[in-house]
Every structure is written in structure tokens, then in C-alpha cells.
């Protein structure tokens, strides 16, 4: 079901934890839907120098959080805003159709954390101009089924 990459990130998730006094914190999803991702950013000179996450969710929710943190560490804030769920899925060598939304969640968690950073610092960040924080991006669980 899951690629080796997913299983690797699920088994040995990178950057689990919290950052005290993080420069940006974002949380998306909700427990009702079965997944919550919380992301902590440490930002220096517009560059993301550290990321940590905590996730309540399925295997792919954990794996997408993990790989997303890797993908944005060392990147500029603007670059990080550009992270798409597609890129996350590709980096994981794919996800089952009904798990794609987990990758959306990861993208949104990154955006939410950067938005928080921007709000705190009164910044306008390219690519986030129209961003609205959402509680639940879980437009949930597409199915791989045909019409009946």
C-alpha cells in the first residue's frame, strides 16, 4: 500500500517534537477527522533553520509531515511557501489516492506556520497574500471508486 519512502518516514520520522519560542507555529486538521498536524518553525534571516512537527493521524499523515519538514529546512520562507502537496507526494514516491489529502494537510501546515510567523512580524510574504488560515483543510478522503 505505502511506498518504502513512506514507510521509512513513518518508522523514523524526522524532526518530531516541538520548538520552544518558535518563530512560527501552525496547526491544521482536527481530531474529529482523525488528523491534526502541528508545525513549529525556527526562522533566521528569512531562512528556515529548524522545523519540528507533531502529528495525530495515519501513517501517511506522519510521513508527509516528516518529509515536509525535511523539504523546507534550509529554504527561504518564500521557497517554503511554494511547497505543494504534489511535491510532497512525489518526494514520497507516491501515496494511495485516498491518502492524498494527508499531503494537502502537510502543505497547509507549512503555510499556516509561515503565516503565523508573518503575522507576528507584520510581514507580507509572496505567495501568502491571499492566505486564510483554515481550521480544517480536510475536505476529506477522496475515494478511488467509480460511479455506481
Amino acid at each position: 500500500m505505502y511506498s518504502e519512502k513512506v514507510m521509512d518516514h513513518f518508522t523514523n520520522p524526522r524532526n518530531v517534537g516541538e520548538i520552544e519560542n518558535a518563530d512560527g507555529v501552525g496547526q491544521v486538521g482536527n481530531a474529529k477527522c482523525g488528523d491534526i498536524m502541528k508545525m513549529y518553525l525556527k526562522i533566521e534571516d528569512d531562512t528556515i533553520v529548524d522545523v519540528k512537527f507533531k502529528t495525530f493521524g495515519c501513517g501517511s499523515a506522519i510521513a508527509t509531515s516528516s518529509i515536509a519538514t525535511e523539504m523546507i529546512i534550509g529554504k527561504s520562507v518564500e521557497e517554503a511557501v511554494g511547497l505543494t502537496n504534489r511535491a510532497v507526494v512525489e518526494a514520497l514516491d507516491g501515496l494511495p489516492t485516498q491518502k492524498i489529502h494527508c499531503s494537502v494537510l502537510a502543505e497547509q501546515a507549512v503555510k499556516a506556520a509561515i503565516y503565523d510567523y508573518a503575522q507576528k512580524n507584520n510581514l507580507v510574504i509572496k505567495g501568502l497574500e491571499n492566505y486564510k488560515p483554515v481550521d480544517d483543510v480536510h475536505d476529506h478522503h477522496d475515494h478511488d471508486e467509480d460511479e455506481e
Binding site: V16, G34, D35, K54, F56, G57, A61
Partner: protein, 387 residues
């Protein structure tokens, strides 16, 4: 991964050697069509008769009232649609419960689109229906009550005898899905006012893709699969001879060994339940404390999600299942867990471990040990858990 501890016996079981041995001749040697007239077609027919007798005996029915199907789900569909359409002139109301298997619920939903009305009875926190609510639900349009014998997720055993009495009194047909009951509790149809009951072979160490149905003589029901004259014209299609033979053998073994099977799985079940309760915080045992499938363990682990729990267990060789929404790819967690009143948050973190004949004592120790670590690890990762 070398270690393999299978704790998903309620999902399916390995076939027992005795069962496979009995099936083998019917694949490539005694392959004759049971409907035919030549001698080795008759051999196949006789083998089916033996299987029918065995299943009949296992549940206290007469052989004439037993029919074979292509699985438990087919039998559920047959029972409900067959009764519904054959008795439409008498009424259009069906009563079931909120915790039925999908093979019952989805048929009921289908019938609702075709003019039937369905009452879905509530269950209490243990998964029990309320007999008073049942009585009140019956109207003069009610043609069928369908309530499962033993729940597949939380193991709760319903008061089938009492339900049957009520149904009989009111002149309403009573179907019970006994897929999880067969081989796990004693069944004696003679003692029950049940009109239709169905079974599935692969839950009792028999083959997948074979089911059985008891239809009390005189019950008005349509056939479900129309065609050839097999199964005394009730269920068309060339008989799955090896499968039926295997089911018969499995049913025989299940009844012969019922007491020792129950004693064995119950002991390990209780050990597992205690192991979890004594070693892990924030857990909740789902299902009934006593009126329970002897091999069923179902817990919710707060702050974590079922699929990641399953995956983690799989990595140390333990096979279980979950009512988590994420495993099924559906929006909501298990309808059964919701019906017993769990919140979404908690229901997401459910784990079902079901014990069977090949489970060993040390397996339980291994599982508890690993569960402790895994649950802790996932909780440490969870934004909901405040250490």
C-alpha cells in the same frame, strides 16, 4: 520480518489442514458437476450432502433447511432482499440495528431507496439493543427484523432468543447474521425462534468465498441468484464443491472442538485485556464485559490514530485491525464505535485484536510488550498528548 502474530481471526482465518485435506480430491479428480447424472457427478453431489449434514448438525437445523452461498455477504443480501421483496404485499418496514455489518446495513439502505422503511435501533454503550425499543418499533407494516448474533467489531452478543420470541409473537420474520457466532458460541436453532440465519466458512478455518444460510421451512423468500436448479432451486450456479466440502468439515471441527476452543481463546483474551489495562493509560475497552465473543479484544487508545497503530504493529509482525476512518478510507470512524457513543477523536484510536486457535500464550506477552512501546511512541508524536 519473520515473526508473525496473527490477531485478526474475526477478519479471516487460516484454513485448517484437515479442511484442506478434505477439499483436495475435489479440485482435479472428483471434479464432476454435481447436477450431472454420471457417477462422479454423483460423487460430488454426495460430498455436498455430507457437508450440508455437517453444517446442519453444527447449528441444530435440518439439512433441508441449509443452503450454500458464495459467502457471508451474499447470504445477508439474500436473506434481506429475499424476504423484503417476497413479502412486500404484507408490508414495507424492516427493523435492524445501528451496529450491523455493512452487508446488512447497505442492503437496508438500498431498500430504502426502493420504497422500504427501515428502523435502525440504537445500542447502549456496550453495544446491546433495547428489547423495549424493539417492541415499540414493530408496526403492522413490519415484515422483517434483522439483528446480528455477535458483532464483528466489539464482539457483543445480542439476546437472540428474546428477539426471536418478540418476532414470533408479532408474526414478523427474524433474520440473524451469525457469521461471527458460528464456532465461537454454541448455536442451537431448535431453541431459537429464528427464521433465517447465515454463516461464512472463512471465519471458522474454512475456505473463503463460501457461505451458508439456514432458511426455516415455510419462510416466504425469493431466490437471490436465479438460474439453474442447484440447491433445490433456491440458489443457482454450479456448486463450489471443494469449498462446500471444506465448509462442512470446518463446521464439524468447530462444533467438535467448541468447548476447548472457547476456553483457549477466552483465557488469552482475558490475559490480553488485563495486560493492556494494567500497562497502558487512557485506554477504553469497547464492547460488553461478559456477553462477548470469546476471542474479541477491542480498545481505544486516546491521542493516537488507529492506522498508525496498525502499521507500527505490523512492523513487529503483529496483525490486527482498526475501526479508524483512515484504514477504511471513509470519512467517519466505524459506525459501530459511533453507535456505542464514542466521540470521533476517541473512535479514531481503536484497535481490534481477535484471538484464535493458533494463538499462543507467549504471543500475548509479545503483543502487550510491543503495544506499550508503540502507543508511547505515537503519543509522544501526537499534538493531543500532554505527556
Amino acid at each position: 520480518m519473520n515473526k508473525r502474530i496473527y490477531l485478526d481471526y474475526s477478519a479471516t482465518t487460516p484454513m485448517k489442514k484437515e479442511v484442506l485435506d478434505e477439499m483436495m480430491p475435489y479440485f482435479s479428480e472428483k471434479y464432476g458437476n454435481p447436477s450431472s447424472i454420471y457417477s462422479f457427478g454423483r460423487e460430488a453431489k454426495q460430498a455436498i450432502d455430507v457437508a450440508r449434514d455437517r453444517l446442519a448438525k453444527a447449528v441444530g437445523a435440518s439439512s433441508k433447511e441449509i443452503f450454500f452461498t458464495g459467502g457471508g455477504s451474499e447470504a445477508d443480501n439474500w436473506a434481506i432482499k429475499g424476504i423484503a421483496y417476497a413479502n412486500r404485499n404484507k408490508g414495507n418496514h424492516i427493523i435492524t440495528s445501528k451496529i450491523e455489518h455493512h452487508a446488512v446495513l447497505h442492503v437496508c439502505e438500498y431498500l430504502e431507496k426502493d420504497g422500504f422503511e427501515v428502523t435502525y435501533l440504537d445500542v447502549d454503550e456496550y453495544g446491546m439493543i433495547d428489547l423495549e425499543q424493539l417492541k415499540e418499533a414493530i408496526t403492522d407494516k413490519t415484515i422483517l427484523i434483522t439483528i446480528m448474533y455477535v458483532n464483528n467489531e466489539i464482539g457483543t452478543i445480542q439476546p437472540i432468543k428474546e428477539i426471536g420470541k418478540i418476532a414470533k409473537e408479532k408474526g414478523v420474520y427474524f433474520h440473524t447474521d451469525a457469521v461471527q457466532a458460528l464456532g465461537n458460541i454454541p448455536i442451537d436453532i431448535k431453541e431459537l425462534d429464528v427464521d433465517i440465519m447465515n454463516f461464512s466458512a472463512h471465519k471458522i478455518y474454512g475456505p473463503k468465498g463460501v457461505g451458508g444460510i439456514y432458511i426455516r421451512k415455510g419462510v416466504k423468500i425469493h431466490p437471490f441468484i436465479h438460474g439453474g436448479a442447484q440447491e433445490r432451486k433456491r440458489r443457482a450456479g454450479t456448486e463450489n464443491v471443494p469449498g462446500i466440502v471444506g465448509f462442512g468439515k470446518a463446521a464439524e471441527l468447530a462444533t467438535q472442538n467448541l468447548d476447548s476452543h472457547i476456553a483457549h481463546v477466552k483465557r488469552l483474551r482475558d490475559k490480553l485485556i488485563e495486560g493492556i489495562q494494567n500497562n497502558i493509560d487512557y485506554v477504553r475497552l469497547n464492547g460488553h464485559p461478559t456477553e462477548r465473543h470469546p476471542g474479541n479484544v477491542n480498545f481505544c487508545f486516546e491521542f493516537i490514530e488507529g492506522e498508525s497503530l496498525l502499521l507500527s504493529l505490523d512492523m513487529v509482525g503483529i496483525a490486527g485491525s482498526s475501526g479508524s476512518a483512515c484504514t477504511s478510507g471513509s470519512l467517519d470512524p466505524s459506525h459501530v464505535l459511533m453507535a456505542i457513543g464514542l466521540t470521533h477523536e476517541i473512535a479514531h484510536g481503536s484497535l481490534r485484536l481477535t484471538i484464535g486457535d493458533f494463538t499462543k500464550e507467549e504471543d500475548i506477552d509479545y503483543v502487550v510488550e510491543h503495544l506499550i512501546t508503540i502507543v508511547d511512541r505515537l503519543r509522544q508524536m501526537s499534538p493531543l498528548y500532554e505527556g
